[in-house]
Amino acid sequence: MKFSYNWIRELVEGLHCAPAPLERLITMKTAECEGIEAVGSLLAQARVALVLRAAPIAGTHLTRAEIDAGPPGRRTVVCGAPNCRAGMKAVWAPVGKKTIHGVESDGMLASGAELGINRDHEGILELDAEVDAPVGAPIPGCAPDSVIEIDNKSITHRPDLWGHWGMAREVAAIAGGRLKDPVRLSSLPSAAPGIRVEVADPALCPRYSALVLENVTWMPSPLWLEWRLSSIGLNPIGNIVDVTNYVMAEFAQPMHAFDADKLKGDTIFVRRARAAERFAALNGEEYTLDSSNLVIADAGGAIALAGVIGGAESAICESTRRVVLESATFQAASVRKTSSAVKLRTDASMRFEKAQDPANTVRGLARAVELLHAVSPGIRIVGGVADVARPTPPPPPISLPLDWLERKLGRSIPAAEVRAILESLEFGVEQAGPRTFSVTVPGWRATKDVSIKDDLVEEVGRMVGYDSIPPRAPLVAAAVPPANPERDFQHEVRRLVVDLGFTEVYNYSFLSEEAARKFGYEPSSHVRVTNPISSDQALLRRSLVPELWRNVIENSKHRDSFRLFEIGLEVHKDAYGAKPGLPEEIPHLVAAMYERAGDGRVGLDELKRVAVCLMPGAAIEPCEDPSEVEIYQHPARAGFVVWKGERVGRLFEIHPSLMENGRAAALDLDLKRVMRLGAGEVKYTPIRRYPSSAFDLSVIAGEREYAAALEANLRRFAGPLVESIEFLRVYSGKPLPEGSKSVSYRLTLGSAERTLESEEIGAIRARTIDGMRGLGYELRV
């Protein structure tokens, strides 16, 4: 929202604060300023000029003009505008001398667009219609200005700050000065309404005021009005529309002018749209409405979408002679809903959705009438104001205990100061008890903004200045905060994986349908974003692997070998978690190791090490059933990670068809399960007092037999006295027969009660060897 400093200064008598310090004050006490822009700098030196002579320059479209723009005397200017002619009043701007087609041009005759007053590029500005514009004087009503831009978000709660008058009230309170009210209600005649108004749904339209005017002349607005609108970024269109925009920018009261002669019937209806009612808007669009939309209608149908935009058919134009001026208040939520349904945000809807003060409808009409008299000569009011208002009880006063206020702010403030502050903002203050005020909220703050005593804390706090509050440590009971074991566990995993050489990445939660399919997931099995930024971010990931794969591919362009991991959430559409109505989110760890060279063994080993470090005793259960292999997995190098009898994740090599070069091993663990299985305190086992003994065995087995099976058999035959079975090495090649391997283990035996006899050890060894041989294995002992 842009505010003209000059405009504010007109509304605040005795304002002695320059734009820059004012901007800082507003930021500290009212709303966030985004900056000040100096506008109309050319206007400072521009002068009213009389064109004395104008002669075309041969062979060009240019005119050589002799002008009088005040002292020191006549000047020659080269002008390219088609409307440059002798005898006209124009605007001269000193932009330096330069020679054009052999003529030295001293400055220029300026167009409205060049000066910033309006958007007219067609010709130079003509001042003949301006009454008070003597030659050599500045352009009347068009002074350079400073525009203060306020962040719209910071005034979401302040309907009054969407107009200059509201901001002027703040400025008067924070910078000193007296607020002037430009409205004279006496300019409205008290006569029977000039038009009938019927409001069918008063909840959606708390107040609808309208006035009929005749003998209207459509013409451009005087320069001061155009300049005022242009300076704050509004586009001058024509006198009637400009006046409605002016009132909107001043009082935050949007208005609309209908061409009265285009209306059907004699009544304006404010009603809900009928199902599938069509409406052609001013912007050239046609909308199909429903009963959630409020419309302004005549006997023929909708003539405006309430609070959003006017209709095309009833729009005013150059031939308009009579207008109906609408000034109403619509329910904020309803306007907002309609505006987002038709995807159209206008200056009007932005203001209405902040809940405007119904008192402004008639005040706005009074202000408009006064301005219209000035910009449309001969205009006449027909009858009096039509005003349909739902009676609204005044808001109940707020009880403000001063001790409570001080406790909230954390500093003391004299009662007199609290009163002065609230009164400066036009709150009513009554003493209601020894240390309690009863505070009445003014209408422009009561619609949505201020309704409870906490709101008054802000009013007092911002005015005394938050920098006057000294920071203070609270006195609170010492307490151990509740634990968050899930988060602690994830941090522990993160630290461990980093210590093992993996680097953490963060990936998006989104996935494309294509990526989902590529990894074997049905897009329909994902939670879908209904308004994605782009189609490749339409799904929520139910696996962290696709993005991990992308990380691998991207980084393999720069590195021959690397390790990375992510801890993040999988979102599962059909599983419901602890939170009712929400899909289950499962924390996962995914890790990958990439190697450009090699057979892939190293990566799988490293990731298995990660799994075992995290879960002592975890094992890999190879995917024997092809249906259990995911399509992104190398079918001969895929397995489940099993811990304490439960599958907790997958260890695999990424399918070589997904890789451009090199190999990547990956680990994918369900951290929720891992955490659950790992829960519980460690229980100490006494250190063995008796020595243990060990012997080595090598088992000759088929090339594709699983070591885990061999180990399990060794353990079975060796019996309960086995302390540990340690894998030593695997060997294949000569002198072993083709297709076989030798796997060596060290078996350590021991007892908690005694030292084992050598005969006993020998017997166990023999039993183990016999057992294995019984299964058909050859042993090298």
């Binding site: 978000k153 309803s334 702010l409 938050y466 203070r472 609270p474 609170v476 939660s509 989110e585």
Partner: protein, 340 residues
């Protein structure tokens, strides 16, 4: 007479001990003189043959010689040992500047680092660290925070809506609501986490970023307390005293609401590109918890009140490490990640 011969043996043996050039030569001398059948040991046995009156004097001479020889021997032996150890160690020289073989330690993501730091800080101040779902319902993300449907404040947060009416949380504030529902007052909590806004990505905008929400509910919590925690927090984050200021800011879940600025750490307030010449950098929104929010979570605002704040972890990480492009944070590029 015998005494003379002992003295002679002593001098001669000393000379031989000193002359030994190898540990073996030294050991040979020891055996010959001090060994079980050595000259001095044999001489000791002669004592018995002497007259009782002569025995003490002789014994003294004998012991003196033995001690001197043993001392000299130990000295020489130690020297040989030292030389030998020195030579062995010198032979074990290694090039310590060679890079160590992999794996090296990996790297935590910069946001993880900042987040961990803040979690530790707040835990030490007695705050619980809470989590909430990333897929949220409308109630917790908006309604319970005093942002009902059709409230214009919903525009402040462009929302990703999901099939079935849920959404991706637009801020970590819903965890406040879940925290109040679960734990009730008094409450001190933070909630760091991932949040989502439906906006296009460029060097300074992301649709996915990280926040840290904080809340304290107790009796008579004031703006002064909020200021204290914010100053403590920021001093710990930036490892130096920071100057803060509060100015009005509008967020429906707090009343009054503030924007907290810090005096620009780059220019110290004189104005620079980082603070857009203003001298201040906007850092975090905060405020006293709106009583409607307390009431909706079943807390009586007449009895309890509190403050809340939201810190942009992504922004903080960028400030801390001087990261100029937000896209690096979720780009997964090791050349970036390995710097932390």
């Amino acid at each position: 007479m015998l005494a003379d011969s002992i003295q002679e043996l002593e001098f001669g043996s000393l000379a031989r001990i000193r002359a030994a050039r190898t540990p073996e030569e030294l050991e040979a001398v020891r055996v010959e003189v001090l060994g079980r059948k050595g000259a001095l040991t044999l001489a000791q046995k002669e004592i018995g043959k002497l007259a009782p009156a002569e025995r003490p004097a002789f014994g003294q001479i004998l012991n003196g010689a033995k001690q001197k020889l043993e001392a000299e021997f130990d000295l020489r032996k130690r020297k040989f040992d030292q030389t030998a150890t020195g030579a062995r160690l010198a032979g074990e020289w290694l090039d310590l500047t060679l890079p160590a073989p992999p794996p090296r330690r990996g790297h935590l993501h910069p946001i993880t680092r900042i987040q961990r730091e803040l979690e530790e800080l707040f835990r030490s101040l007695g705050f619980a660290v809470l989590d909430g779902p990333e897929v949220e319902d409308e109630y917790h993300n908006f309604d319970a925070l005093n942002i009902p449907a059709e409230h214009p404040a919903r525009d402040m947060q462009d929302t990703f809506w999901l099939e079935g009416g849920n959404l991706l949380r637009t801020h970590t504030s819903p965890v406040q609501v879940r925290g109040m529902e679960r734990l009730g007052p008094p409450l001190r909590m933070i909630a760091p986490g991932r949040v989502f806004r439906n906006e296009s990505v460029d060097a300074s905008h992301e649709h996915t970023f990280y926040q840290l929400e904080g809340m304290m509910i107790d009796r008579d919590v004031s703006v002064a307390h909020l200021l204290y925690f914010m100053k403590t927090l920021l001093t710990a984050i930036f490892h130096r005293e920071v100057t803060v200021r509060l100015r009005p800011g509008y967020f429906p879940f707090v009343e009054p609401g503030f924007e907290l600025d810090i005096l620009c750490l780059i220019c110290g307030g004189t104005g620079c590109a980082v603070c857009k010449q203003s001298g201040w950098v906007e850092l975090l929104p905060c405020g006293l918890v709106n009583p409607n929010v307390l009431r909706m979570s079943g807390i009586d605002p007449e009895e309890w009140n509190g403050f809340a704040f939201g810190l942009g972890l992504t922004r903080l990480a960028m400030m801390r490490y001087g990261i100029d492009d937000i896209r690096h944070l979720q780009g997964g590029d090791l050349r970036f990640l390995e710097q932390f």
